[in-house]
Every structure is written in C-alpha cells, then in structure tokens.
C-alpha cells in the first residue's frame, strides 16, 4: 500500500461525503417545509430520528475525513502505524454509520428502527478503531517532542 496519498484520498472522500450529507440535510428540511406526512406524522417519529441521525453522523464523519487529511499534511511526523487500516476504517464508518441510520428509518417497527440499524454498531466500532489509532499516533514521542511538549 506504499505510495498511497491518504491525505488526498480523505480530502476527496471528506468533501464529496460532505456534499452528499449536506444534500441529505437539504432534503430533510424540504420534507419539513412541505409538511410531508411520511416524515412528519407522529407515526414517523422513528424515521425522523433515524434520518436526522444519518444526516448528522454523515456530516460529522465528512468533517473527520477532512480533519484527518489536514492532520496528515500538517503533521508529517505523525507516527501512524497502520495508516491503511485507519483509512479503511474511517471510510467504512462513513458508509455504515449514516447508512445504518438511514436504512433503519426506511422500514421500521413503531418505536424500533428497521434491521438496517444493525450496521450502526459495526460502523461505530470502525470509527472508534480509527480514532484510537490516530490518537495513539499523535501521542508518540516523536510528535510530542517535535511540537515542543514535554511528556510527563
């Protein structure tokens, strides 16, 4: 996997993903604006919650992609041990977390989301894995010393 420009990849994924989920936000606002009953009725409360969560998580993850890309560029001494795993996990989380929420709102059972929501915990694990690995990379001695921060 040597030679892959992760920074470029995540910038691209981040901005396109932001475009997709910001558009979803616009669609949801339109559903409010036009008072679409399938979205706004009391019986659709679960759908409303699931799709709102899909929009929120998707948008936030897009920003995480961008932040990750900029971190790679701005902190070249960052000591990431498994960059391909981090990259894959972040992209997987971006698909599974909002996707799970979205599918959970397409078909649902009264107060319970549809089975698509099962994708969410998988996405959450991927996200946590990626975040943990990045956090660990930022804590390595090399990075901290370059930034002039003394380890306790």
């Amino acid at each position: 996997m040597a030679g892959i420009d992760y920074s470029r990849r995540h910038l691209r994924v981040g901005w396109w993903s932001l475009f997709v989920f910001a558009t979803l936000g616009l669609v949801l606002e339109s559903l409010h604006g036009f008072k679409v009953r399938a979205y706004l009725d009391a019986s659709s409360e679960t759908r409303r919650l699931m799709w709102t969560l899909a929009h929120a998580h998707g948008t936030l993850l897009s920003l995480i992609h961008i932040a990750f890309a900029l971190t790679l560029r701005g902190v070249p001494e960052l000591n990431l041990r498994r960059p391909e795993l981090i990259s894959g996990a972040l992209i997987g989380a971006s698909v599974l977390l909002p996707g799970g929420f979205f599918l959970g709102g397409v078909v649902f059972y009264a107060g319970d989301p549809g089975l698509g929501v099962l994708l969410v915990p998988v996405g959450a694990v991927l996200l946590l894995t990626a975040v943990f690995l990045v956090a660990r990379g930022t804590s390595s001695g090399q990075v901290l010393e370059k930034k002039g921060i003394r380890r306790s």
């Binding site: 009391a42 019986s43 059972y109 009264a110 107060g111 319970d112």
Partner: protein, 655 residues
C-alpha cells in the same frame, strides 16, 4: 496569563464547572416554573403510583410513539388532571362567580396554585349562613364539554367539588346542579368524597378509593382516606391491561425484534383489536356501561385493590352489567331496585333501551348487529366505528378526530360505509330504494334513521348506540321520539305510521293506540308540551338540528322553543336556548338559563317579540298540526291543554 499557566487538574475542574453550573441553573429554572410537588409528597389529594403490575403510560411512548401521540390528543387522557394554570379551561385570575348557590365564589391564582373562596357546600345548617372557606383547587374532571373542579378538603386525600362548573362551549360558569338533568328544587347530594369513591373508578387508571370503611357507611370525618391511582385519566393500561411486565421484557431489543419479525401478538399485553367483538367491546364497556358490584364483598375488595376487571377478561365475571332486558329479575337487580326504585327508570326507556350517555355499551349489546350476529367477523363492536388511536390514513386534524374518536370510515359521508360493510345489498342504487329518501339527503344516512338522537347527557343529546328501526309503536309505548319525527318535526305520529306501513310493511298501530293528539298534532309538539323533561330536551335539541330545520322549516319553531326558556329544568332551558340561537334572526338573542324566573320571563318575552318581527319577513305557518290557525295565530287553548297535561315526573338522569 495563558492556559499554560494552569494545571491540567485545574483546567479539568473549570471545564466541569463550566458545564455543571448552566445545567444546574437550567434545571432549577425549569423546576421552579413547573412547581410540581412530587407525588409521594402530595398529602392532600389522591396521588398517582404505579402498582399491581401497572407501569403508567410513560414507558409506552418509546416504542409506540404514534399511539401515544393519539392518546395524548384524546379527551380520555385529560378526563382527570391535576389543576394547574395550564389544565384549567377557566381563568382563576381574580374571578368572581355569581352563578353559585348562596354568596359569590371568588377564584384566585397564587403563584402556580389555584384557590377558591366560597360558601361551605357541606354546611350542616347551624347558624345563619354557611361559613366561608378557602380551599386549594387540586384536580379537574373533563376538558371537552365541561370542567369540574375539585378542592383539597384538608381531610386526608378527600376531595370536595367547587359549587360551580365551567361550561366549555358557552365559556361560562354554571351552578353545579345546572350541569345535570336534575329535578328543580330537589336536594343536592354532597359531592364530597364522590371523586374518591366513584369518579376514581373510571376517570383514572386502576383507581383505588381506599376509604377505611366503605363510602357512605360512616361519616367522612371519621374516615381515613388514602385514594390512589396508577395514573389520572384513562390511559394505555385501561384498555391494554397492566403493562409493567410488557415494558420490562421488551426493554430487550432481541425480544422486540423477534416479535417484529415473527408478527402476531405479544402475550404480555392485551390488544383489544385482536379480541373478539364481545371481549373487545367489554374493554370499552367497563366504563361506558352501567354496572354495579354483585355484592358488598366485591365492593370492599375494589375499595382497596381497585376494580378487578382486566382487559380481555369476561366483564360480567367481576361485575353486574345492568341491562333490564336481560336481568330484570335477577337477585342483584332486585337488590338494586330495593335500594333505589328509580334505578332503572332514570337510565333506561321503558323498553330497556338506555337513555343516558356514557352507557353506550348497554346500547351495543342490545343491537341486532351485535346480539344477532352469527358470523364473528361481521359482529359489530365498538371498534366497528370508533378508533382509540387516530390511524395514519386519517386526514382529519387530531382535535376533530378526538371529538368522537370515530374511524375515518365512520366519520365520512354519514357513516354509511361502515354499515354497508355488512349490509352491502343496501348500497349503491339500492340505498334510495331502502331509505325512500334521496341518496344524498340526511334521510339516507344510516345513522339518522337507526341511531337517532334519543340519548341524553352532558347537556345535550347524542345518538342512541342501540341500533334500531324507526317505530311508531315504540314511541307510543315508551314515549321515545322516533327517528322520523325527530327530523320531520312538523309531522304527526299518524303521518309517520302511514309512511312506515306503506314503505316497510309493518301494520300501523291499532287505531285506539293513538290519541287524537297523536293524529292531529305534530309529534314533536306533543313531546315538547306534554313530555317529561327528558323528552323535552330531546325535542328541543332536534329543533336546532340543521337537517330537521331544513325539512321542517324554522319559522314556527321560536314560540315553542321560547316556551322551554321557562322550563323548570335548567338543562332543558339551555338546550332550548342553543336551538333558538341557531334560528335565523335569533343569533344575537341573550338568555341566561340559570337566571331567576322573573329575569328569564323577560328574556322569554324578548324571544317572542323577535319571533313576531322575523315572522313578518319569513312568512307564517298555518298548519293545524303545528297548532296554528289558518290566520297564523296560536290555537292557544290547545297549547294550554297540552302544557297542562305535561308529565311532571321528576327526571334525574344518571349520566
């Protein structure tokens, strides 16, 4: 100074404070606004406590949001509420209420508390006048037509009732006695303790009176009263049964998804729509039916544990459903009639059809669509027409649905579609052949002919819930106005008998069965002038019913409605006034139905003057059946004769 000067621990502490202080202030603000006392600290009123396997409606919302929302919009939920500035429909902000017995009542809002200053309703007659008392209003009953207010008596959880009731439609206070069909001058029963002993059974979920000795057997002052309920108002568990186990088990997503994917019922909760018509209707009948305890033992047990009936049970296992056509000679009925000989006649017409509202289950079980149905799938139940949760395909605003909680099909186009689901042979082109009225006219509405407005309660009439055919014979035997003459107000009973015989075949009642009046005077006027207070109320409301006004004309109605403005019964006067105001030219007519007789007389004369004015523009009726001469004057002696024959039996309808 920069952040680097602070230790991480100090920074952490500051961050926690930064979050905690606004959160604490917000919590304090919200709770100071609410001002609610925790239930377990409220000592002067009944309290809500989940018990006996009941969990209250709170856990239901998470899994059943739309059902919860629909219930939340319903008047079932608000049947009993804690009195707060938000739940009371009347202002308490320095209000003086004159329409009470004795001296005026004064209402006051102190912070978020509601207070009333009034004459002691339970005055023992000692001294010159009842003492004044100041009491905190703690609870309300009703939010649809009327609202009743209950105050803390200071004796345990015992409640007393304010002497005035708020009439929501008229936006006015009325004396408590005027809110029910009650004989004029009759002694009023004290309402202290009524909520704890009676209202609690159906206006709360699993209410427990908890009197130390049965209500009515000992002086209230000597009693310990610890009334509780699972929840105020008629909430989820009233129809679905205790839900604690259901909520607990379904906290597991695995169980929920197994149920979703498998389909079918969850054995931990009752779904009334999955019960058969009998059991399903009994769920409603537990409150919308007239019942009594079989014996004192059952009554005593219910005092402590609440009523033993649970949705899905056989209703009559734990209570005696009073229905004279079925159990007139049973030992329990005999016992009830020994206690109160008018127990039946105050609630039922003489043929056993229920005549008081709130007892719709009694009407259902006597309906042929229920009792004669052999096919369970086609057997009528309450759910045939009513839906306790507004369905997703129902386009009506929630408040419109909440009015009668009808299904969209039952609410649409006169409800015919509901009946035609079984009686399909009468639909389409056959409808007109069956009804003998134009298909689009009110005369072709199933409801209008088979569920006429012959039941009374809450200061109005409602449709009978016993499906029946229009029958002159029944009118002659019971005095109950028939559907034909409730619309054709200007026609005689004889006229109706002729058409019914011609169209539907049954023989006309024998000649001797009808009086001269039945043959020559409009049936509505016979009931209005000669009938008892209940019959007068029914006719008075029919005179304000748009379809009846349309077919019978309106320019002859004012003098007769004006007669009722001086009726001895408050309820009849109010209904007559409402109908009078619906007539052309009478919208601005002022009338206070609880004013003293001399003032009412003046207002009655004003109504008659208005009629004379409008008659010039609208023309005169000269029908002898309406007791008018060919010149359009009253046949006064005939009117007087009928009024003199009025049935003055005391009418007290147990709503």
């Amino acid at each position: 100074m920069t952040l680097k000067n602070f230790s991480p621990r100090l920074l952490g502490t500051l961050a926690v404070l930064w979050l905690a202080v606004p959160a604490g202030l917000g919590w304090a603000f919200v709770h100071s606004r609410d001002g609610a006392i925790p239930e377990n600290r409220a000592a002067d009123r009944p309290i809500q406590i989940a018990a006996n396997g009941y969990a209250s409606s709170q856990p239901c919302k998470a899994c059943h949001p739309s059902q919860y929302e629909a219930w939340h919009s319903s008047y079932h939920r608000t049947m009993t509420q804690l009195a707060t500035p938000e739940t009371v429909v009347a202002s308490f902000d320095g209000v003086r209420v004159d329409d009470v017995p004795g001296r005026p009542m004064f209402l006051e809002q102190r912070g978020r508390e509601l207070w009333a200053d009034f004459d002691e309703p339970d005055w023992d007659g000692q001294g010159n006048a009842p003492p004044r008392i100041q009491r905190r209003v703690v609870m309300t009953t009703g939010s649809h037509h009327q609202q009743i207010y209950w105050y803390a008596t200071g004796h345990g959880r015992l409640l007393g009732q304010l002497p005035a009731i708020r009439l929501i439609g008229e936006q006015r206070w009325i004396p408590r006695r005027a809110a029910v069909m009650h004989p004029p001058g009759g002694a009023l029963i004290s309402e202290s303790g009524s909520w704890n002993a009676i209202c609690v059974q159906c206006h709360t979920t699993l209410g427990k009176p908890e009197f130390s000795s049965p209500f009515g057997t000992a002086a209230l002052a000597s009693q310990t009263i610890d009334t509780k309920a699972v929840e105020f108002g008629i909430s989820c568990e009233m129809c679905h049964g205790p839900g604690e186990e259901h909520a607990r088990l379904n906290a597991s997503p695995l169980r929920r998804y197994a149920l979703h994917l498998r389909g079918g019922p969850d054995s931990t909760i009752v779904q009334p729509l999955r019960l058969n018509a009998q059991r399903s209707s009994e769920v409603c009948g537990q409150c919308h039916g007239l019942w009594e305890f079989y014996d004192k033992v059952g009554e005593r047990a219910a005092n402590t544990n609440g009523l033993p009936y649970r949705p899905g049970d056989e209703l009559e296992k734990s209570r005696f459903v009073v229905q004279p056509t079925r159990n007139q000679s049973s030992p329990t009925m005999k016992m009830l009639l020994e206690d109160d000989p008018r127990f039946i006649s105050d609630v039922f017409w003489s043929d056993g059809m229920v005549r008081a509202t709130g007892r719709e289950y009694n009407g259902l079980i006597e309906s042929p669509c229920f009792k004669n149905a052999t096919d369970e799938a086609r057997k009528m139940s309450c759910a045939s027409c009513h839906s306790m949760h507004q369905t997703a395909d129902d386009r009506r605003p929630a408040h419109e649905w909440a009015d009668d909680q009808l299904t969209p099909r039952a609410a649409a186009s006169g409800g015919n579609e509901t009946c035609l689901a079984c009686h399909a042979q009468l639909g389409g082109t056959q409808l007109q052949n069956h009804t003998k009225h134009l298909a689009a006219s009110p005369g072709s509405s199933c409801y209008n002919c088979h569920m006429p407005y012959t039941t009374y309660g809450l200061l109005k009439t409602i449709r009978s819930h016993q499906i029946s055919n229009p029958s002159v014979q029944s009118t002659l035997e019971t005095g109950r106005p028939n559907a034909c003459n409730l619309c054709h107000l200007d026609k005689t009973l004889d006229w109706t008998a002729g058409y019914l015989a011609q169209w539907y075949g049954p023989a006309r009642p024998p000649f001797g069965a009808m009086t001269d009046d039945d043959r020559s005077v409009a049936a509505s006027l016979v009931s209005l002038l000669k009938g008892d207070a209940g019959q007068r109320a029914i006719i008075a409301q029919a005179m304000g019913w748009a379809p009846a006004q349309q077919i019978s004309g309106t320019n002859w109605l004012p003098p007769y409605l004006a007669v009722l403005l001086d009726d001895p019964y408050d309820a009849v006067r109010l209904i007559a006034y409402r109908s009078l105001r619906s007539l052309p030219g009478f919208n601005g007519l002022a009338f206070d139905f609880v004013a003293p007789p001399d003032r009412r007389g003046a207002m009655q004369r004003r109504a008659l003057e208005l009629w004379r004015d409008t008659r010039r523009q609208q023309g005169r009726r000269t029908d002898p059946a309406l007791l008018f001469t060919p010149e359009g004057s009253f046949i006064a002696e005939k009117v007087d004769r009928l009024v003199n024959q009025r049935n003055n039996r005391p009418v007290l309808w147990r709503e």
